[in-house]
Protein backbone atom coordinates (compact mmCIF):
# COMPACT_ATOMS: atom_id res chain seq x y z
CA UNK A 1 0.00 0.00 0.00
CA UNK A 2 2.76 2.40 0.86
CA UNK A 3 4.41 3.49 -2.30
CA UNK A 4 7.73 5.18 -2.30
CA UNK A 5 7.32 8.63 -3.57
CA UNK A 6 10.77 9.64 -4.55
CA UNK A 7 10.12 9.23 -8.24
CA UNK A 8 12.79 11.69 -9.21
CA UNK A 9 15.90 12.83 -7.44
CA UNK A 10 14.62 16.37 -7.12
CA UNK A 11 11.36 18.13 -6.31
CA UNK A 12 8.46 18.29 -8.71
CA UNK A 13 7.28 21.79 -9.61
CA UNK A 14 4.36 21.44 -7.17
CA UNK A 15 6.73 20.44 -4.37
CA UNK A 16 9.06 23.36 -5.08
CA UNK A 17 6.21 25.87 -5.13
CA UNK A 18 4.76 24.42 -1.92
CA UNK A 19 8.09 24.44 -0.15
CA UNK A 20 8.98 28.01 -1.14
CA UNK A 21 5.45 29.21 -0.30
CA UNK A 22 5.36 27.53 3.10
CA UNK A 23 8.82 28.76 4.03
CA UNK A 24 7.80 32.32 3.16
CA UNK A 25 4.61 31.92 5.18
CA UNK A 26 6.58 30.52 8.13
CA UNK A 27 8.83 33.57 8.02
CA UNK A 28 5.93 36.06 7.89
CA UNK A 29 4.10 34.39 10.78
CA UNK A 30 7.01 33.45 13.06
CA UNK A 31 10.05 35.40 11.83
CA UNK A 32 11.78 32.02 12.16
CA UNK A 33 15.54 31.92 12.25
CA UNK A 34 17.95 29.03 12.77
CA UNK A 35 20.49 29.00 15.58
CA UNK A 36 23.38 26.71 14.67
CA UNK A 37 24.70 25.72 18.06
CA UNK A 38 27.13 22.82 17.67
CA UNK A 39 26.55 22.00 14.01
CA UNK A 40 26.66 23.94 10.74
CA UNK A 41 24.43 24.04 7.66
CA UNK A 42 25.65 21.32 5.33
CA UNK A 43 24.59 19.36 2.28
CA UNK A 44 25.76 16.06 3.74
CA UNK A 45 23.25 13.33 4.47
CA UNK A 46 21.56 13.79 7.82
CA UNK A 47 18.66 12.77 10.01
CA UNK A 48 17.26 15.89 11.67
CA UNK A 49 15.39 14.81 14.79
CA UNK A 50 13.13 17.25 16.64
CA UNK A 51 10.52 17.73 19.33
CA UNK A 52 6.97 17.54 18.00
CA UNK A 53 3.88 19.41 19.16
CA UNK A 54 2.34 20.88 16.01
CA UNK A 55 1.80 20.25 12.31
CA UNK A 56 3.85 23.40 11.78
CA UNK A 57 7.01 21.82 13.22
CA UNK A 58 8.26 20.31 10.01
CA UNK A 59 7.46 23.46 8.00
CA UNK A 60 9.43 25.56 10.48
CA UNK A 61 12.38 23.18 10.41
CA UNK A 62 12.43 23.03 6.60
CA UNK A 63 12.26 26.82 6.41
CA UNK A 64 15.62 26.88 8.22
CA UNK A 65 17.30 24.72 5.55
CA UNK A 66 18.59 25.99 2.22
CA UNK A 67 16.47 25.42 -0.88
CA UNK A 68 18.95 22.84 -2.14
CA UNK A 69 19.01 20.86 1.12
CA UNK A 70 15.22 21.11 1.43
CA UNK A 71 14.74 19.45 -1.97
CA UNK A 72 16.53 16.35 -0.68
CA UNK A 73 15.07 16.23 2.84
CA UNK A 74 11.84 14.44 3.68
CA UNK A 75 9.75 14.49 6.83
CA UNK A 76 8.63 11.14 8.17
CA UNK A 77 4.89 11.19 8.88
CA UNK A 78 2.33 8.68 10.17
CA UNK A 79 0.42 6.87 7.43
CA UNK A 80 -2.45 6.29 9.89
CA UNK A 81 -3.07 10.04 9.84
CA UNK A 82 -1.76 11.32 6.51
CA UNK A 83 -2.85 8.30 4.48
CA UNK A 84 -6.42 8.43 5.73
CA UNK A 85 -7.95 10.21 2.74
CA UNK A 86 -6.83 10.94 -0.80
CA UNK A 87 -6.60 14.65 -0.01
CA UNK A 88 -4.35 14.10 3.01
CA UNK A 89 -2.18 11.70 1.05
CA UNK A 90 -1.93 14.24 -1.77
CA UNK A 91 -0.88 16.98 0.67
CA UNK A 92 1.63 14.77 2.45
CA UNK A 93 3.22 13.09 -0.54
CA UNK A 94 2.67 15.20 -3.64
CA UNK A 95 2.94 18.62 -2.00
CA UNK A 96 5.16 18.18 1.06
CA UNK A 97 7.13 15.17 -0.26
CA UNK A 98 6.91 13.45 3.12
CA UNK A 99 7.57 9.76 3.66
CA UNK A 100 4.58 7.96 5.15
CA UNK A 101 5.15 5.09 7.55
CA UNK A 102 2.73 2.85 9.43
CA UNK A 103 3.05 2.91 13.18
CA UNK A 104 1.29 -0.47 13.28
CA UNK A 105 2.37 -2.41 10.23
CA UNK A 106 1.28 -5.92 9.34
CA UNK A 107 3.19 -6.63 6.20
CA UNK A 108 7.01 -6.71 6.04
CA UNK A 109 7.06 -4.37 3.01
CA UNK A 110 5.45 -1.75 5.25
CA UNK A 111 8.15 -2.00 7.87
CA UNK A 112 8.93 1.64 8.84
CA UNK A 113 12.67 1.06 9.11
CA UNK A 114 12.94 -0.48 5.66
CA UNK A 115 10.93 2.38 4.13
CA UNK A 116 13.13 5.00 5.82
CA UNK A 117 16.29 3.11 4.88
CA UNK A 118 15.25 3.03 1.25
CA UNK A 119 14.99 6.84 1.32
CA UNK A 120 18.42 7.12 2.94
CA UNK A 121 19.84 4.76 0.34
CA UNK A 122 18.82 7.21 -2.37
CA UNK A 123 21.10 9.72 -0.70
CA UNK A 124 18.32 11.82 0.81
CA UNK A 125 17.99 13.18 4.35
CA UNK A 126 15.11 12.71 6.82
CA UNK A 127 13.28 14.81 9.36
CA UNK A 128 12.20 12.53 12.19
CA UNK A 129 10.08 13.14 15.28
CA UNK A 130 11.27 10.36 17.61
CA UNK A 131 8.49 10.96 20.14
CA UNK A 132 6.28 9.25 17.58
CA UNK A 133 3.34 11.61 18.00
CA UNK A 134 2.55 15.24 18.74
CA UNK A 135 3.22 15.97 22.39
CA UNK A 136 0.21 17.60 24.09
CA UNK A 137 1.25 16.79 27.65
CA UNK A 138 2.94 19.11 30.14
CA UNK A 139 6.16 17.13 29.76
CA UNK A 140 8.71 18.95 27.63
CA UNK A 141 9.69 15.88 25.66
CA UNK A 142 8.21 12.36 25.58
CA UNK A 143 10.39 9.21 25.63
CA UNK A 144 11.91 8.39 22.22
CA UNK A 145 10.84 5.43 20.11
CA UNK A 146 13.49 3.08 18.77
CA UNK A 147 13.58 4.24 15.13
CA UNK A 148 16.43 6.68 15.61
CA UNK A 149 18.61 3.93 17.10
CA UNK A 150 17.73 1.35 14.47
CA UNK A 151 18.39 3.77 11.59
CA UNK A 152 21.72 4.82 13.01
CA UNK A 153 22.80 1.22 13.61
CA UNK A 154 21.98 0.39 10.00
CA UNK A 155 23.50 3.55 8.45
CA UNK A 156 26.16 4.82 10.89
CA UNK A 157 27.53 7.34 8.36
CA UNK A 158 24.38 9.45 8.43
CA UNK A 159 24.71 12.33 10.89
CA UNK A 160 22.01 12.65 13.56
CA UNK A 161 21.29 16.33 14.24
CA UNK A 162 19.08 17.31 17.21
CA UNK A 163 16.77 20.28 16.45
CA UNK A 164 14.85 22.08 19.18
CA UNK A 165 11.75 23.80 17.81
CA UNK A 166 10.68 26.64 20.04
CA UNK A 167 7.19 28.08 20.49
CA UNK A 168 5.52 26.30 17.58
CA UNK A 169 3.06 24.61 19.94
CA UNK A 170 1.79 28.08 20.83
CA UNK A 171 1.63 29.22 17.20
CA UNK A 172 -0.39 26.25 15.98
CA UNK A 173 -1.59 23.99 18.82
CA UNK A 174 -2.92 20.52 18.05
CA UNK A 175 -6.50 20.75 16.82
CA UNK A 176 -6.21 24.36 15.61
CA UNK A 177 -6.20 25.48 12.04
CA UNK A 178 -5.13 29.13 12.06
CA UNK A 179 -1.65 30.10 13.32
CA UNK A 180 -1.07 32.91 15.84
CA UNK A 181 1.95 35.04 14.84
CA UNK A 182 4.67 34.51 17.46
CA UNK A 183 8.44 34.59 17.12
CA UNK A 184 10.04 31.14 16.78
CA UNK A 185 13.54 29.76 16.63
CA UNK A 186 14.98 26.39 15.70
CA UNK A 187 18.18 25.44 17.56
CA UNK A 188 20.39 22.93 15.73
CA UNK A 189 22.66 21.07 18.15
CA UNK A 190 25.83 18.96 17.88
CA UNK A 191 25.56 15.60 16.06
CA UNK A 192 24.77 12.57 18.21
CA UNK A 193 26.26 9.15 17.42
CA UNK A 194 25.93 5.71 18.99
CA UNK A 195 28.97 5.01 21.16
CA UNK A 196 30.71 1.63 20.69
CA UNK A 197 28.71 -0.96 22.59
CA UNK A 198 26.07 1.56 23.66
CA UNK A 199 22.78 -0.10 24.49
CA UNK A 200 19.53 0.99 22.77
CA UNK A 201 17.75 2.54 25.75
CA UNK A 202 20.87 4.36 26.93
CA UNK A 203 21.45 5.86 23.49
CA UNK A 204 17.83 6.97 23.06
CA UNK A 205 17.86 8.65 26.47
CA UNK A 206 21.15 10.39 25.69
CA UNK A 207 19.82 11.66 22.37
CA UNK A 208 16.70 12.87 24.16
CA UNK A 209 18.74 14.73 26.78
CA UNK A 210 20.88 16.36 24.06
CA UNK A 211 17.73 17.63 22.38
CA UNK A 212 16.32 18.90 25.69
CA UNK A 213 19.55 20.72 26.48
CA UNK A 214 19.09 22.87 23.36
CA UNK A 215 15.96 24.58 24.78
CA UNK A 216 17.24 28.15 25.20
CA UNK A 217 14.85 28.86 28.07
CA UNK A 218 14.53 25.68 30.09
CA UNK A 219 12.90 27.40 33.09
CA UNK A 220 10.00 28.63 31.05
CA UNK A 221 6.83 28.19 33.02
CA UNK A 222 4.23 27.83 30.28
Amino acid sequence: MTKLHLRANTFTLLQTVTSVGLSALAWVVTGVRPIWNGSQPSERQRIYFANHASHGDFILLSACLSEKVRARTHAVAAAEYWGKSRLRRFIAEDMLSSVLIHRHWTDETQHPISIMLSVLDQGHSLILFPEGTRNTTDAELLPFRSGLYNLSMARPDVELIPCWIENMSRVLPKGQFLPVPLLCRVVFGPPVAIAPGEERRAFLERARQTLLSLDPRPDRDD
Binding site: R33, Q176, V180, P181, L182, P216, R217, D219, D222
Partner: protein, 315 residues
Protein backbone atom coordinates in the same frame (compact mmCIF):
# COMPACT_ATOMS: atom_id res chain seq x y z
CA UNK B 1 7.08 82.69 5.71
CA UNK B 2 5.29 79.44 4.88
CA UNK B 3 7.30 77.26 2.55
CA UNK B 4 5.47 75.04 0.10
CA UNK B 5 5.16 71.39 1.27
CA UNK B 6 7.35 69.97 -1.49
CA UNK B 7 10.13 72.33 -0.50
CA UNK B 8 9.83 71.32 3.18
CA UNK B 9 9.83 67.63 2.31
CA UNK B 10 12.98 68.00 0.24
CA UNK B 11 14.74 70.04 2.94
CA UNK B 12 13.78 67.38 5.46
CA UNK B 13 14.93 64.47 3.35
CA UNK B 14 18.23 66.07 2.43
CA UNK B 15 18.83 66.92 6.10
CA UNK B 16 18.08 63.37 7.26
CA UNK B 17 20.18 61.70 4.59
CA UNK B 18 23.00 64.15 5.38
CA UNK B 19 22.91 63.38 9.11
CA UNK B 20 22.73 59.62 8.56
CA UNK B 21 25.49 59.62 5.95
CA UNK B 22 27.74 61.54 8.35
CA UNK B 23 26.87 59.05 11.10
CA UNK B 24 27.62 56.08 8.83
CA UNK B 25 30.97 57.55 7.76
CA UNK B 26 32.01 58.30 11.35
CA UNK B 27 30.93 54.81 12.50
CA UNK B 28 32.72 53.27 9.51
CA UNK B 29 35.99 55.04 10.37
CA UNK B 30 35.67 54.11 14.05
CA UNK B 31 34.98 50.46 13.14
CA UNK B 32 37.89 50.41 10.69
CA UNK B 33 40.35 51.71 13.30
CA UNK B 34 39.01 49.69 16.23
CA UNK B 35 40.57 46.36 17.25
CA UNK B 36 38.84 43.24 15.93
CA UNK B 37 36.48 41.80 17.00
CA UNK B 38 34.60 45.08 17.43
CA UNK B 39 33.76 46.23 20.98
CA UNK B 40 30.04 45.87 21.77
CA UNK B 41 29.48 49.66 21.85
CA UNK B 42 30.53 49.91 18.20
CA UNK B 43 28.49 46.88 17.17
CA UNK B 44 25.51 48.48 18.88
CA UNK B 45 26.19 51.84 17.17
CA UNK B 46 26.38 50.21 13.73
CA UNK B 47 23.13 48.33 14.36
CA UNK B 48 21.37 51.54 15.43
CA UNK B 49 22.55 53.46 12.38
CA UNK B 50 21.45 50.65 10.06
CA UNK B 51 18.08 50.57 11.80
CA UNK B 52 17.70 54.33 11.20
CA UNK B 53 18.49 53.91 7.52
CA UNK B 54 15.77 51.28 7.28
CA UNK B 55 13.41 53.58 9.18
CA UNK B 56 14.12 56.57 6.94
CA UNK B 57 13.67 54.52 3.75
CA UNK B 58 10.44 52.90 5.00
CA UNK B 59 8.94 56.20 6.13
CA UNK B 60 9.98 57.99 2.93
CA UNK B 61 8.35 55.32 0.77
CA UNK B 62 5.19 55.47 2.92
CA UNK B 63 5.34 59.28 2.74
CA UNK B 64 4.96 59.25 -1.03
CA UNK B 65 1.93 56.98 -0.75
CA UNK B 66 0.35 59.54 1.57
CA UNK B 67 -2.30 58.68 4.15
CA UNK B 68 -2.83 55.12 2.94
CA UNK B 69 0.90 54.36 2.87
CA UNK B 70 1.45 55.74 6.38
CA UNK B 71 -1.56 53.85 7.78
CA UNK B 72 -0.37 50.55 6.27
CA UNK B 73 3.21 51.12 7.47
CA UNK B 74 2.13 51.67 11.06
CA UNK B 75 -0.28 48.72 10.92
CA UNK B 76 2.74 46.57 9.98
CA UNK B 77 4.76 48.12 12.83
CA UNK B 78 1.89 47.23 15.19
CA UNK B 79 1.95 43.67 13.85
CA UNK B 80 5.68 43.30 14.53
CA UNK B 81 5.45 44.93 17.97
CA UNK B 82 2.42 42.86 19.01
CA UNK B 83 4.12 39.67 17.86
CA UNK B 84 7.13 40.49 20.03
CA UNK B 85 5.02 41.42 23.01
CA UNK B 86 2.81 38.32 22.91
CA UNK B 87 5.82 36.05 22.43
CA UNK B 88 7.29 37.40 25.67
CA UNK B 89 4.18 36.93 27.79
CA UNK B 90 2.55 33.88 29.29
CA UNK B 91 -0.33 32.35 27.34
CA UNK B 92 -2.15 29.03 27.37
CA UNK B 93 -3.66 26.88 24.69
CA UNK B 94 -7.13 28.18 25.59
CA UNK B 95 -6.02 31.73 24.64
CA UNK B 96 -5.67 30.76 20.98
CA UNK B 97 -8.80 32.51 19.73
CA UNK B 98 -8.21 35.69 21.73
CA UNK B 99 -4.65 35.88 20.38
CA UNK B 100 -5.88 35.30 16.83
CA UNK B 101 -8.44 38.09 17.32
CA UNK B 102 -5.72 40.50 18.43
CA UNK B 103 -3.88 40.03 15.13
CA UNK B 104 -6.78 39.31 12.82
CA UNK B 105 -9.45 41.71 14.07
CA UNK B 106 -8.07 44.37 16.42
CA UNK B 107 -5.12 45.52 14.25
CA UNK B 108 -7.07 45.77 10.96
CA UNK B 109 -10.11 47.37 12.58
CA UNK B 110 -8.16 49.95 14.60
CA UNK B 111 -6.25 51.02 11.45
CA UNK B 112 -9.42 51.04 9.40
CA UNK B 113 -10.79 53.50 11.98
CA UNK B 114 -7.64 55.61 11.51
CA UNK B 115 -7.94 55.46 7.74
CA UNK B 116 -11.61 56.51 7.76
CA UNK B 117 -10.87 59.17 10.43
CA UNK B 118 -13.62 57.89 12.74
CA UNK B 119 -12.21 59.61 15.82
CA UNK B 120 -15.07 58.72 18.19
CA UNK B 121 -14.64 54.96 17.84
CA UNK B 122 -10.88 55.10 17.29
CA UNK B 123 -10.29 56.40 20.83
CA UNK B 124 -12.57 53.91 22.60
CA UNK B 125 -12.51 50.73 20.51
CA UNK B 126 -9.55 49.19 22.37
CA UNK B 127 -9.78 50.81 25.84
CA UNK B 128 -13.54 50.16 26.13
CA UNK B 129 -14.76 47.38 23.84
CA UNK B 130 -11.66 45.21 23.61
CA UNK B 131 -10.91 45.84 27.29
CA UNK B 132 -14.25 44.32 28.26
CA UNK B 133 -14.73 41.69 25.58
CA UNK B 134 -11.28 40.05 25.62
CA UNK B 135 -11.49 38.88 29.27
CA UNK B 136 -15.11 37.89 28.67
CA UNK B 137 -14.03 35.54 25.88
CA UNK B 138 -11.24 34.17 28.07
CA UNK B 139 -13.75 33.55 30.89
CA UNK B 140 -16.19 31.86 28.52
CA UNK B 141 -13.36 29.51 27.56
CA UNK B 142 -13.43 28.34 31.18
CA UNK B 143 -9.67 28.19 31.79
CA UNK B 144 -9.05 30.12 35.03
CA UNK B 145 -5.38 29.16 35.47
CA UNK B 146 -3.44 32.45 36.01
CA UNK B 147 -6.45 34.26 34.59
CA UNK B 148 -5.65 37.82 35.69
CA UNK B 149 -2.04 37.56 34.55
CA UNK B 150 -2.99 36.32 31.08
CA UNK B 151 -5.78 38.85 30.63
CA UNK B 152 -3.61 41.76 31.82
CA UNK B 153 -0.78 40.81 29.49
CA UNK B 154 -3.20 40.72 26.54
CA UNK B 155 -4.59 44.17 27.46
CA UNK B 156 -1.11 45.59 27.75
CA UNK B 157 -0.05 44.06 24.47
CA UNK B 158 -2.87 45.65 22.46
CA UNK B 159 -2.73 48.99 24.28
CA UNK B 160 1.00 49.40 23.72
CA UNK B 161 1.48 47.79 20.33
CA UNK B 162 -1.76 48.73 18.61
CA UNK B 163 -3.57 51.55 20.40
CA UNK B 164 -0.57 53.75 21.17
CA UNK B 165 1.19 53.12 17.85
CA UNK B 166 -1.99 53.91 15.87
CA UNK B 167 -1.86 57.50 17.19
CA UNK B 168 1.03 58.22 14.83
CA UNK B 169 -0.95 57.82 11.56
CA UNK B 170 -4.00 59.26 13.36
CA UNK B 171 -2.16 62.60 13.24
CA UNK B 172 -3.14 62.63 9.56
CA UNK B 173 -6.82 62.90 10.48
CA UNK B 174 -6.43 66.12 12.48
CA UNK B 175 -7.83 69.24 10.91
CA UNK B 176 -5.46 72.11 11.74
CA UNK B 177 -6.63 75.41 10.15
CA UNK B 178 -4.08 76.79 7.71
CA UNK B 179 -2.14 73.49 7.75
CA UNK B 180 -4.30 71.49 5.35
CA UNK B 181 -2.58 68.75 3.34
CA UNK B 182 0.64 68.97 5.37
CA UNK B 183 -0.14 66.65 8.29
CA UNK B 184 2.50 64.15 7.14
CA UNK B 185 5.06 66.69 8.34
CA UNK B 186 3.65 66.39 11.89
CA UNK B 187 4.62 62.72 11.83
CA UNK B 188 8.12 63.63 10.65
CA UNK B 189 8.40 66.22 13.45
CA UNK B 190 7.31 63.72 16.11
CA UNK B 191 9.58 60.89 14.96
CA UNK B 192 12.66 63.08 14.45
CA UNK B 193 12.42 64.85 17.81
CA UNK B 194 11.69 61.65 19.78
CA UNK B 195 14.33 59.53 18.02
CA UNK B 196 16.73 62.48 18.21
CA UNK B 197 16.09 62.73 21.94
CA UNK B 198 17.08 59.06 22.35
CA UNK B 199 20.38 59.82 20.63
CA UNK B 200 21.02 63.03 22.59
CA UNK B 201 20.27 61.26 25.89
CA UNK B 202 22.71 58.53 24.92
CA UNK B 203 25.44 61.03 23.96
CA UNK B 204 24.99 63.30 27.01
CA UNK B 205 24.80 60.24 29.25
CA UNK B 206 28.09 58.90 27.85
CA UNK B 207 29.82 62.31 28.09
CA UNK B 208 28.56 63.70 31.41
CA UNK B 209 26.57 60.90 33.07
CA UNK B 210 27.32 60.70 36.81
CA UNK B 211 24.05 60.29 38.70
CA UNK B 212 21.95 57.23 37.93
CA UNK B 213 18.29 58.01 37.60
CA UNK B 214 16.82 54.65 38.47
CA UNK B 215 19.58 52.10 39.07
CA UNK B 216 17.15 49.26 39.75
CA UNK B 217 15.50 49.70 36.33
CA UNK B 218 18.29 50.78 33.99
CA UNK B 219 22.05 51.03 34.59
CA UNK B 220 22.49 53.43 31.66
CA UNK B 221 19.93 56.21 32.31
CA UNK B 222 21.40 59.21 34.10
CA UNK B 223 20.05 62.63 35.16
CA UNK B 224 22.73 64.34 33.04
CA UNK B 225 21.71 62.32 30.00
CA UNK B 226 18.02 63.06 30.52
CA UNK B 227 18.43 66.82 31.06
CA UNK B 228 20.94 67.25 28.23
CA UNK B 229 18.78 65.14 25.91
CA UNK B 230 15.61 67.06 26.69
CA UNK B 231 17.25 70.47 26.23
CA UNK B 232 18.87 69.44 22.94
CA UNK B 233 15.72 67.88 21.54
CA UNK B 234 13.62 70.92 22.55
CA UNK B 235 16.09 73.07 20.57
CA UNK B 236 15.82 70.63 17.68
CA UNK B 237 12.02 70.98 17.94
CA UNK B 238 12.29 74.78 17.73
CA UNK B 239 14.56 74.45 14.66
CA UNK B 240 12.03 72.16 12.99
CA UNK B 241 9.06 74.44 13.73
CA UNK B 242 8.97 75.33 10.01
CA UNK B 243 7.48 71.84 9.47
CA UNK B 244 4.62 72.46 11.88
CA UNK B 245 1.75 74.79 12.70
CA UNK B 246 3.59 75.67 15.95
CA UNK B 247 5.59 78.83 16.72
CA UNK B 248 9.26 78.08 17.50
CA UNK B 249 8.61 78.46 21.25
CA UNK B 250 5.52 76.22 21.13
CA UNK B 251 7.44 73.69 19.00
CA UNK B 252 10.14 73.55 21.68
CA UNK B 253 7.48 73.00 24.36
CA UNK B 254 5.67 70.27 22.41
CA UNK B 255 8.98 68.55 21.62
CA UNK B 256 9.93 68.75 25.32
CA UNK B 257 6.72 66.99 26.42
CA UNK B 258 6.91 64.38 23.64
CA UNK B 259 10.53 63.59 24.48
CA UNK B 260 9.81 63.42 28.21
CA UNK B 261 7.06 60.88 27.44
CA UNK B 262 9.51 59.08 25.17
CA UNK B 263 11.99 58.86 28.02
CA UNK B 264 9.28 57.40 30.30
CA UNK B 265 8.42 54.89 27.58
CA UNK B 266 12.03 53.73 27.46
CA UNK B 267 12.05 53.43 31.26
CA UNK B 268 8.87 51.31 31.29
CA UNK B 269 10.27 49.12 28.49
CA UNK B 270 13.43 48.60 30.57
CA UNK B 271 11.31 47.65 33.59
CA UNK B 272 9.41 45.08 31.51
CA UNK B 273 12.66 43.60 30.19
CA UNK B 274 14.06 43.52 33.74
CA UNK B 275 10.96 41.71 34.94
CA UNK B 276 11.21 39.11 32.16
CA UNK B 277 14.95 38.79 32.85
CA UNK B 278 14.18 37.67 36.39
CA UNK B 279 11.98 34.94 34.99
CA UNK B 280 14.87 34.03 32.73
CA UNK B 281 13.29 34.20 29.34
CA UNK B 282 14.96 37.36 28.27
CA UNK B 283 16.88 36.23 25.19
CA UNK B 284 13.86 35.85 23.00
CA UNK B 285 14.02 39.18 21.21
CA UNK B 286 17.78 39.21 20.60
CA UNK B 287 18.54 39.20 16.88
CA UNK B 288 14.92 39.45 15.91
CA UNK B 289 15.12 43.10 14.96
CA UNK B 290 13.47 44.20 18.20
CA UNK B 291 10.69 46.49 16.98
CA UNK B 292 9.87 47.44 20.59
CA UNK B 293 13.49 48.36 21.27
CA UNK B 294 13.31 51.02 18.56
CA UNK B 295 9.70 52.07 19.12
CA UNK B 296 9.35 52.18 22.93
CA UNK B 297 9.79 55.96 23.16
CA UNK B 298 7.54 56.68 20.19
CA UNK B 299 4.83 54.48 21.70
CA UNK B 300 4.56 56.67 24.81
CA UNK B 301 5.03 59.97 23.00
CA UNK B 302 2.51 59.51 20.17
CA UNK B 303 -0.84 59.58 22.08
CA UNK B 304 0.17 62.60 24.17
CA UNK B 305 1.51 64.48 21.14
CA UNK B 306 -1.70 63.64 19.27
CA UNK B 307 -3.92 65.02 22.04
CA UNK B 308 -1.84 68.17 22.55
CA UNK B 309 -2.12 69.02 18.86
CA UNK B 310 -5.79 68.10 18.81
CA UNK B 311 -6.62 70.18 21.90
CA UNK B 312 -4.64 73.33 21.12
CA UNK B 313 -4.43 73.49 17.32
CA UNK B 314 -7.55 71.94 15.81
CA UNK B 315 -11.00 73.42 15.50
Amino acid sequence: MTLPPMHETVVLLVGLVGVLTTASIVAGILSWRAPKPLPSTLVNLNQRINAWWVMVVAITVAFFFGHTGMTILFALISFAALREFVTLTHSRRSDHWVLLGMFGIIIPYQYWLVWTAWYGLFTIFIPVYCFLLMPAITALNGDTERFLERVSAQQWAVMISVYCVSHVPALLTLNVPGFEGRNLLLIAFLIITVQGSDVFQYIFGKLFGRHLLSPSVSPSKTWEGLIGGLVASSLLGALLSFLTPFSPLAAAGVAFIACLMGFLGGLVASAIKRDQGVKDWGHLIEGHGGMMDRADSLVFAAPVFFHIVRYFWTV
